[in-house]
Symmetry: C2
Subunit: 385 residues, 2 copies
C-alpha cells in the first residue's frame, strides 16, 4: 500500500482541498485584467490577516527570499543592526545582515529560550544609533514564540526599525502588525497559511519606506520600490507564481471564514494537547512552557534515544512526519508541528503513533497515556471532562 503522508513538520504543511482545487484552475497571464482583479482581492485579504494598513507585497520566493528583501531594502552598509537570535532563523537574520555589510550586534539567547526583553532594553539604551532590530516571532527551530508586541512598544519612540520574521506564525498565532509597531513583517505561504511553498509576503510601514527610498544596498529581484510601482496596477514587478496566488487567495478565504480569533484559539488548543501528551509520556519540552509556541512543539528526545531514529519509525511505519532538530539540536529533539490545516484528530493520531514508536525503540512508555492526556485537553475545551 502506498504510504499515506501525514505532514506534521513546520512547513510545508497540509494543503486543504479547496486550496488544491483553486490551484488547479487554468493559468492566466499575469499582466491580464483578470489577474489584477484576483490580486486586488488577495492583497485586501492579506492586510486583514496581517492586521495592517501598510502596503503588503507578495514575492515569488521562499520565506528566506522575503527575509533577504527585508534586509536588502532597509539596511545600508555600515548600519548598526541588532539581531535577536533564539535559534536557526535568528541566525539567518544575522547571516543576512552580515552579507549586506551591516555592523551586526548579535544578542544570542540560546536555542530553546525566548528573547530576554530586559536585556534588549538595556542593550538599546547602552548602544545608541541602532538603525534596525531583526527579530523572529515564532522561532521554528526551537518551538519558541517571542513577544513582538513588547519589542514593538520598546522601539516606538526610537529611530529604529522593527523587522520581524513571521514566516511560521502568520495565520496560526496573532500578528498585529500595526498595533505592535512592526515596520517590516515577513511571512511565507507554506506554514500556517496552508499553501504550498513558493510565495513570500512582506509588509512595509511608512517609516520603513523612508529608509527604503535612500537605501543603497544592491538588489534587483527583491527591490521593493519596483514592487510598489507594479502594485499600483495590482501587479508584480516580475512573473509571479500564478497558481500559488490562486491558492493563497483560497486559503485566506478559509482563514477569514473561520475567523482569526478562532484560528488562533484552535492552534492554542492543539498545542496545549500536544504538550499535555508529551509531558504525560515523561518527555521534556525544549522551551520553558510560557514561551512554548502554539504552532510547533519541540520535545527533547528521551534519555539516550536518537530523535532521528524515532522520526524514522514514525515516517516509515505510520507516514507521520515530525521534524528533527537543527544545528546543535540535531538528534536531540523532535518537533511536532500543529500549524495550519490541522485538527484534533491529527493530534490524537500523532500522539498515538508516537507512543508506538517510543515502545518500538524500547522506551518505557505507558501505552495510551499520552493519548489520554491530549483527549482530556480536548474534552475540557468543550467543558466535557
Amino acid at each position: 500500500m502506498p504510504k499515506k503522508l501525514r505532514l506534521m513538520i513546520p512547513g510545508p504543511t497540509p494543503v486543504p482541498p479547496a486550496v488544491q482545487e483553486a490551484m488547479s484552475r487554468p493559468i492566466m497571464g499575469h499582466r491580464s485584467k483578470e489577474f489584477a482583479r484576483i490580486s486586488e482581492g488577495l492583497y485586501h485579504k492579506l492586510r486583514q490577516v496581517l492586521q495592517t494598513q501598510n502596503q503588503v507585497f507578495i514575492l515569488t520566493s521562499s520565506g528566506t527570499g522575503g527575509m533577504e528583501a527585508a534586509v536588502a531594502n532597509t539596511v545600508n552598509p555600515g548600519d548598526k543592526v541588532l539581531v535577536l537570535v533564539t535559534g536557526k532563523f535568528g541566525e539567518r537574520w544575522r547571516d543576512l545582515a552580515r552579507i549586506y555589510k551591516a555592523d551586526v550586534i548579535e544578542m544570542n539567547f540560546g536555542w530553546g529560550n525566548p528573547v530576554d526583553l530586559d536585556a534588549v532594553k538595556t542593550r538599546l539604551d547602552a548602544e545608541p544609533g541602532i538603525r534596525v532590530v531583526l527579530a523572529t516571532h515564532n522561532e521554528t527551530s526551537t518551538g519558541v514564540v517571542n513577544d513582538i508586541a513588547a519589542l514593538g512598544a520598546m522601539l516606538r519612540d526610537r529611530d529604529t526599525l522593527l523587522v520581524v520574521d513571521a514566516v511560521s506564525s502568520l495565520g496560526g498565532i496573532e500578528v498585529r502588525t500595526d498595533a505592535w509597531n512592526v515596520d517590516v513583517l515577513v511571512s511565507a505561504s507554506q506554514k500556517a497559511l496552508m499553501v504550498p511553498p513558493g510565495l513570500a509576503i512582506i509588509s512595509v510601514s511608512p517609516r520603513a519606506w523612508e529608509r527604503i527610498e535612500v537605501c543603497r544596498a544592491p538588489r534587483y529581484y527583491f527591490d521593493l520600490p519596483a514592487a510598489r510601482k507594479a502594485l499600483a496596477k495590482w501587479n508584480t514587478a516580475y512573473t509571479p507564481a500564478v497558481s500559488l496566488f490562486y491558492g493563497l487567495d483560497a486559503a485566506l478565504d478559509l482563514i477569514l471564514a473561520e475567523g482569526l480569533e478562532r484560528v488562533f484559539a484552535r492552534h492554542r488548543k492543539l498545542a496545549a494537547a500536544t504538550r499535555a501528551a508529551v509531558k504525560a509520556l515523561g518527555l521534556e519540552l525544549l522551551p520553558p512552557e510560557a514561551a512554548a509556541s502554539p504552532v510547533v512543539t519541540a520535545v527533547r528526545s528521551p534519555g539516550g534515544t536518537d530523535a532521528d531514529a524515532l522520526r524514522k519509525v514514525l515516517a516509515d511505519r505510520f507516514g507521520i512526519y515530525f521534524a528533527g532538530g537543527q544545528g546543535e539540536l540535531k538528534g536531540r529533539i523532535f518537533r511536532i508541528a500543529h500549524m495550519g490545516y490541522v485538527d484534533e484528530a491529527d493530534i490524537l493520531c500523532a500522539v498515538a503513533t508516537l507512543e508506538v514508536a517510543l515502545a518500538t525503540l524500547g522506551f518505557d512508555v505507558a501505552l495510551g497515556s499520552g493519548t489520554a492526556a491530549a483527549q482530556r485537553v480536548f474534552l475540557e475545551a468543550r467543558g466535557e471532562a
Copy 2:
C-alpha cells in the same frame, strides 16, 4: 477550518493519490485503440485479483447493478433459487430474485450471524432442483464474513450455480473464484478496491455461460452476452465510465504491487486491532468473533447510547465517519470500516477519537485504554511487545 474528511465507512472508501491522479488523465474515446489497450491490461489484472480464469466484465453501475446482472442473466422465471440471508445484502439478493420471478427459498440466519453450513447442506439435500444459490461473502451490514470456500465445495457436484456478492470483500479478503467454485462473482469499485463508486465487476464461469445462453429473463443494459461480444475487442457494450477505468487500473497496480497476501494480512491486522480496542473499551462486537469481518467491524452501541448520536459527534467534531446500523440495527450498532486504503495510523486515530466521543456522551470510558489495546496489536504484529 474546513472539516478534514476521514472516511471509515464501508464504501466509498478513501482513494489513494495515484488513483486520483490516474482519473485526472484526459478522457479518451471508448471505441479507440488506446482504450482497448488499457482495458486489455485492466482485465488481465482483474483476473489475477479474482484468482480466476473466467471471463471478467466491468459494468458501469454500482455493485447493485452487478447483482442485478447476475440474477437477470442466470435466473429464469420459476427457477428454484436458494438465498442465504445474513443481513441487508442477503436481503437484496432475495429481493432481486423475487423481482426476476424466481421461486425463492430464503434461509435467514439473522443479522449478525454467519451462514450455518450444516443447515444449508440439509436444505440442499431436502430440496432437490435448486438451480442457483445466492450468497454474500462479506455482509457489510453486520460485519460478518461467510465461508464461500465451504459453500463452493458443497455445490461442486450439484447442478446448482453459486452466485456470490463479493462487493465489499474483493481486494480486502481473499477471494479464490475458481478454487472455490464460484460461478458468478460480483464486486464493485468503491470498497476495498479503493476506487470511487461507479463500476461493477462480474465474473462468469463456463457452467454459468450455459445457463446464461438459455436464460429468458429480460435485460438489456446488463446483458452479459452483449458484454462478452464487446469484450472480444476489449470493449464494452455501452459507454463505460472512462475515468473510473483509469482509476481501477491504477488501483489494481497498487494492489498487485503490494501483493495479494500482504493486502489480506494488512486487513486482518487492522481488524484485529479494531476489535481489541472496542473490547478494551467494554463494547461488544455484533457478530461472533470467529465470523468477524476483516474489512468492517460492527459494534453494539453501549447500553442506552444512541449509535447515531455517537456517529454524529465523531463526524461533526473529528471528521471521522463511521457507518450506522441498517434496518433493524439502526441506532443500535456502529460500523468501523478498515477497507482499502487504510493503515495503522487510521485505526489509532479512529479509536482515540471514538474514546473522546464516548466520553462526550457520558459513557464511562477509560481514556486511552482502547488506543493502548490497538497499539499492542500493532506492536505484537512486529514482535515488539
